[in-house]
Subunit: 180 residues, 2 copies
C-alpha cells in the first residue's frame, strides 16, 4: 500500500491462495495433482474408476442464520478495468457468499477484515485465476463481483430468507487497485 498525498491510496494486487485468503473465507479450487498420477495430495480421493479426483468441503456454506436457506444463482458480470477505484465495500451479516466462474476467467477479490466499517488501509486485493472461486465468510467486507477481461458467468451460493443481509459502507478514503 503506497500513499500519494491527498489522493487515493494505491493497493497492489496479490495472487490468490488459500493461506492468504484464510482470514476472509475459502478459495474454491482443485488440489494440485493430475488425474491418474498415482500419488495424490492428502485432501483428494479418486472417483469414477480413477477418472476424476475429488476434494470435499471446499467452502463452508453458512446460510441458516435467522431462518435462512441456500440460494443457487448465476450472475453474469460485465468486465471492469484496472486500475480500479474502490470507494465502498459491502458485507452480508447473515450468510456466507461464494462466487465460482463458469468459464475461464480472472476476477478481482478485494476484502477487509473486522466487523466495523472498513478503513482504506485495511484492504487487501487478490487476483483469482482460472479455476479459482472464493467463498466470503459471513460478515466479511468485500467488493462486489469484479471480473476482468470479458463478460463472465459465475455460480453464486448465498443466503435467502428473512432479515436485512446487505450492508454497504463508504471507505474513509478511496483506494486505487493497481496491477504492478
Amino acid at each position: 500500500m503506497t500513499e500519494s498525498s491527498g489522493g487515493p491510496l494505491e493497493l497492489e494486487i496479490e495472487s490468490l491462495s488459500a493461506e492468504r485468503f484464510a482470514p476472509f473465507g475459502e478459495v474454491i479450487e482443485a488440489s494440485a495433482g493430475r488425474v491418474g498420477a498415482g500419488a495424490y495430495p492428502i485432501d483428494v480421493y479418486p472417483i469414477n474408476d480413477g477418472g476424476a479426483l475429488r476434494r470435499d468441503h471446499v467452502a463452508q456454506v453458512d446460510v441458516e442464520e435467522g431462518g435462512g436457506r441456500l440460494r443457487v444463482s448465476v450472475a453474469r458480470a460485465a468486465p471492469r478495468t484496472l486500475p480500479l477505484l474502490v470507494e465502498k465495500l459491502e458485507r452480508h451479516p447473515l450468510g456466507s457468499q461464494a462466487f465460482v466462474p463458469m468459464t475461464t476467467a480472472c476476477f478481482l477479490v478485494v476484502v477487509a477484515g473486522g466487523v466495523r466499517p472498513p478503513r482504506a488501509r485495511e484492504l487487501r486485493a487478490f487476483l483469482a485465476g482460472p479455476g479459482q472461486g472464493v467463498s466470503y465468510r459471513r460478515g466479511v467486507w468485500h467488493l462486489p463481483l469484479s471480473v476482468l477481461e470479458r463478460e463472465t458467468d459465475f455460480l453464486v451460493l448465498d443466503r435467502e430468507g428473512p432479515g436485512e443481509n446487505l450492508e454497504e459502507r463508504a471507505l474513509d478514503r478511496p483506494v486505487r487497485i493497481v496491477l504492478t
Copy 2:
C-alpha cells in the same frame, strides 16, 4: 438411436437445453442477455449498480433426505473421447447432484428416466457447452462426469450423510455415444 445388429446401440448427442433436460433436472446457466442492455429476460434482475445480471434458483438442491446435508466439492476430471461406450449408469437415491465446470469446457451428459434399472433404448445424451452446468434430480440415472477435450475442474454440489446414496446398474445392452 440406431441399431447395428448384435452390437451396441448408437445414440446421437443432442445440444443441452433447459426444456430438453427438464425431465432429468436443471441446466445451470445464465439467461440470454447482455449486462447493461436495458431490457432483461423476466427471470433475471440487475445487481451491483447494473454491473451484473442475476438469475436465482438455477438448481433445486435436494440433499436433506435421511439426515443429509449439502457438500461442496471440486472434482478434477480427465477427458474422455468420442465415440464413448456406455455400459452402466449410476444414480443417487437420496439426493440431487450438480456439476458446474470452472473453466471453459464441453461435457457429456447421459441420462435415463425412471426408477427401475435403465434400458439402453431409454438413454438420452446431451452436450453441455461453455457456461452450462447441470443438476441431476434425486434418483436420476446418469453417466459419471465425462468431460471432453481436456482435464477440467468442476464444482460439485451434492449430499453427504447417513445411508447408501450410490446405485450402479449395467445396461441391458451397451450404448455407443456418437457426435454426428
